[in-house]
Symmetry: C2
Subunit: 274 residues, 2 copies
């Protein structure tokens, strides 16, 4: 079990891409089965999957008011139920992968991670790394985890993806979203919004300045906040691709290295955006 081997790709499957948004605790079985098929077809040497909470984790966390961390003892059972909802979603995702003969292994963030004021502080990734090197596909998720400062906390899949990429020396992060990629304006409200096909870190920082201007919310349709979480890995030279997991075939193409969605990398200021 050497530490060598192929560099892993980290695939994030957004909660909105695998669950039915407005129906509590409902997996989008068709979507996850199709994605499992695309992942099987891509036949990756080294792959880690992280999925979001969608109508499982987020719904339960909001119902029991634990989104902002521990405040009072009555929340305790809500934390238990949120973690339990996420293990249920994870079970269904892993079962679907296994049914396609992908050797997926459920890895529970609350079991190996503690945050401190919301940021990952303790993280034991060696068991996961052992499994990855043996040919398994670890499957993690955004989760309710303990926090050494605030008691507990909701750890986002995006923060987890970044730490995994750093600790596992990942080559690429692929964000499977419910939109086509990063836009220069909100495609839902602006007809002139254009999909950015390639953006570099300096260009991203410039875009951030524009977005941070008063009175403009996240004009890119919600994707920009997620991208900001990824800055540390971009700086390390990890490529980030945002692609539409709702569009059949796109995740397969992205896993195989074909051009889809938005590619974000360290790069120079001068490259073209579209």
């Amino acid at each position: 079990m050497s530490a060598e081997g192929p560099t892993p790709v980290i695939l994030k499957l957004g909660g909105s891409a695998i669950t039915i948004k407005n129906r509590p605790l409902t997996l989008d079985k068709r979507a996850i089965n199709r994605l499992a098929g695309e992942i099987k077809q891509a036949d990756m040497d080294s792959l880690v999957i992280v999925h979001g909470g969608g109508s499982f984790g987020h719904w339960v966390a909001e119902k029991y008011d634990i989104t902002d961390g521990y405040k009072e003892e009555s929340q305790i059972l809500g934390f238990s139920k949120t973690h339990q909802a996420m293990t249920l979603l994870n079970k269904q995702v892993v079962d679907s992968l296994i049914s396609r003969s992908i050797p997926a292994v459920a890895i529970s963030p609350a079991s190996m991670i503690a945050t401190k004021s919301g940021r990952i502080n303790i993280m034991e990734e060696r068991p996961l790394r052992n499994l990855l090197e043996l040919g398994f596909t670890p499957v993690l998720y955004g989760d309710a985890v303990s926090d050494t400062q605030t008691g507990f906390n909701i750890l986002s899949g995006d923060q987890l993806v970044v730490q995994l990429a750093i600790r596992l020396d990942a080559e690429r992060i692929l964000i499977g979203a419910d939109v086509d990629g990063l836009y220069d304006a909100d495609p839902k409200t602006s007809q002139s919004a254009r999909l950015i096909s390639h953006i570099t870190l300096p260009q991203l920082m410039k875009l951030q300045e524009e977005i941070a201007k008063p009175s403009t919310m996240d004009v890119t349709g919600g994707m920009f906040g997620k991208v900001l979480e990824l800055l540390p890995v971009l700086d390390l030279g990890v490529q980030v691709i945002i692609a539409n997991a709702r569009e059949p075939g796109t995740i397969y193409k992205a896993l195989k290295g074909e051009t889809v969605g938005t590619l974000i990398e360290k790069g120079e200021q001068t490259e073209t955006l579209y």
Copy 2:
């Protein structure tokens, strides 16, 4: 979140006490609901639960021939399925505890532990400890885990119980079995078999010598092998109680410190056995 607080009790629920032995992947719902009620009634300040595999983990591990560790690539999917079977059993146990308002949190051994040649080598218990100190009841299980020497391995709930007791500074280990305790002969074949109500470490070592004589198998009805795994904690002064989890009320009594089953402790050579 200080490191102080009440010393935890570790409750092991044997797979044969919570599943239906000869029916694959079948929880004994009545048994686990009753046990959840007894645990709720005992109202423990600090409790960790570890359950066995029963007709879930053992059955799948045998079906896919992974009991003796990694031998060839075709076993990979069997490992995935074994871990998945255990997360399913664990989910049902945790759901039952939560339905009794016990703030149970599923903790996945494969996510935080790696063995080396079958013995626990890497173990990150801090997230679990954080949760325990907040008032949660972590629920772990015997699991398929990675092994830095042999690839992977089946980690017994008994080995896990010992490491948890050491690392969490436990006061007592309570083994919920499907027998009344430790016998001086096999109660299923010997009419003269007597339940040992109290045995000390020196007496246990003496019993071991007798049992190790050629041609005698484990004459105590299978319990003795489990007890040998517990020697390191006995030496540290942790009390071990073996009690019948199949007998209603017994786990409640044992949790409350009442005399049931067999008490094993460090003690002296001279104490009485019965």
